[in-house]
Symmetry: C2
Amino acid sequence: MEFNINLSHIEAAHNRIRAYIHRTPVMTSASLDKMAGCSLYFKCENFQKIGAFKARGGLNAVMTLPESQKAKGVVTHSSGNHAQAVALAAKLAGIPAYIVMPRTAPKIKQKGVNALNANITLCEPTLEAREQGAEEIMRKTGATFISPYNNHAVIAGQATCAKELLEDYPELDQIVTPVGGGGLLAGTLLSANYLKPIIEVFAGEPEGAMDTYLSFKSGVHQKVANPKTIADGLLASMGDINFAIIKPLLKDVFLVNDDEIVAAMRLIWERMKIVIEPSCAVPFAALLKNKTVFSGKKVGIILTGGNVDLNHLPF
Amino acid sequence: MEFNINLSHIEAAHNRIRAYIHRTPVMTSASLDKMAGCSLYFKCENFQKIGAFKARGGLNAVMTLPESQKAKGVVTHSSGNHAQAVALAAKLAGIPAYIVMPRTAPKIKQKGVNALNANITLCEPTLEAREQGAEEIMRKTGATFISPYNNHAVIAGQATCAKELLEDYPELDQIVTPVGGGGLLAGTLLSANYLKPIIEVFAGEPEGAMDTYLSFKSGVHQKVANPKTIADGLLASMGDINFAIIKPLLKDVFLVNDDEIVAAMRLIWERMKIVIEPSCAVPFAALLKNKTVFSGKKVGIILTGGNVDLNHLPF
């Protein structure tokens, strides 16, 4: 099958961003293996720069802009990790970053973006207000919009995560990632497809934002209105670029509810002694709910991020 | 200077326990380095078996018992990580472990000991009741008492932690550990003394349990009555075996209060995305309070454990 992003794009992305990201460790846990009935390999992107895998895609997208375009800066709207990723990439490139954030975004995430010297514009917490805010900035400054997921360079950047995982553990049978907009999932599917096509890639998705589930099962790209889940990084609806990759390559997608997400998050905190955010617990929750699919296998799980407000923990 | 524990004891301990412990990773953090004004190397014993360095000393102490003595089992009184360490060591040796725990010990720690098949005896939460409980068990069963810190084999076991750190980072200038009973501190001092005597070793201690501070500053071994601190792993008073090592080798000890401990703990959770317990944050709190001592240096910090009750976090 032919995709717009091929292995050489992913390799180029990796070479481009390598010096600015961490090669994150892969952790294992005997007690979680026992509980899950398989061998788990957790790729710890919670230890990544800015605390999430989003640094990979943001960096690659900004670094591949033509110089003339780059100079005018970059803009995005995000309440979360993508905002920090774009701000970091712009700071490293020495160009302005304009971030439109809902005024309800957690203070800790505003602080993170602020610390990277980005220009923050607060707006009403609706998609419309966010898009309007970004468009106004683009008109005024000529800055380039960087989508969090519906962008080839972003997807190639996120693909470097599964590439590292497969370089470190080529023996994996399966990989599970969460899915929101589909940047990480699409990138993971492509890396697996090029590096070890026999691997089965699964997605975990919150019930309250089940657009990928509906789209994948029906074969028709769909969105859900008013998504709602504790996994605040997975509220976005999948992009069309993402769906074109996910549809033919994904093995299956599993839904989990908020209670299952919080229980999986707590298990990882307690047993692995690492801080992960709710979105990040979704693949492990999906695995625990569907043990027979993974029984006895070597399963890679991408732990996507660790940016959580310690004043508002779900336990 | 001559000590009862020499380098060959520490090497033998390491060879003895190596197969049963994790060689824990050393983590770094650019943002914490910037904040501290030095280069920090965090030895992550929160990722150790049973979630704390105590596994090292407990295993070495149980494994060095003569066979005839071992068969009758081991006993200790502890509300915390040492109980799990002894239970783990006994389980691996296939011998009974008897643990006297105050009935007020956190349910999560009782659960941890239970999961290791140890026999738990609950008692009133006083040192007297704990000692009495342990003595009664020794009388009935002939089991051997394993002190959490005032024991040569325990100290040699804990010394393997700094040994690994210095093997991985021989360029360190300084090491900081917390001090409670003094097992880890004494072991660290001995490893540093044998492997790189020029290194300065410091201790961090809670103000509410400042017996090491009083003893070290006066040169006379002292205890404090009714110690009280959020660092529940550091309530014990230093042992005499420990003081004999600490007195000549320690560079200095710094006091921190509970607010400083919680602030340092939170920084490590937020910036490093790892779960550590309050006792574990004491050295970093001490360093932040005494930055000039560490300015520009390469500083090893032993992160001792990650067993924290997520239902009762201090933030």
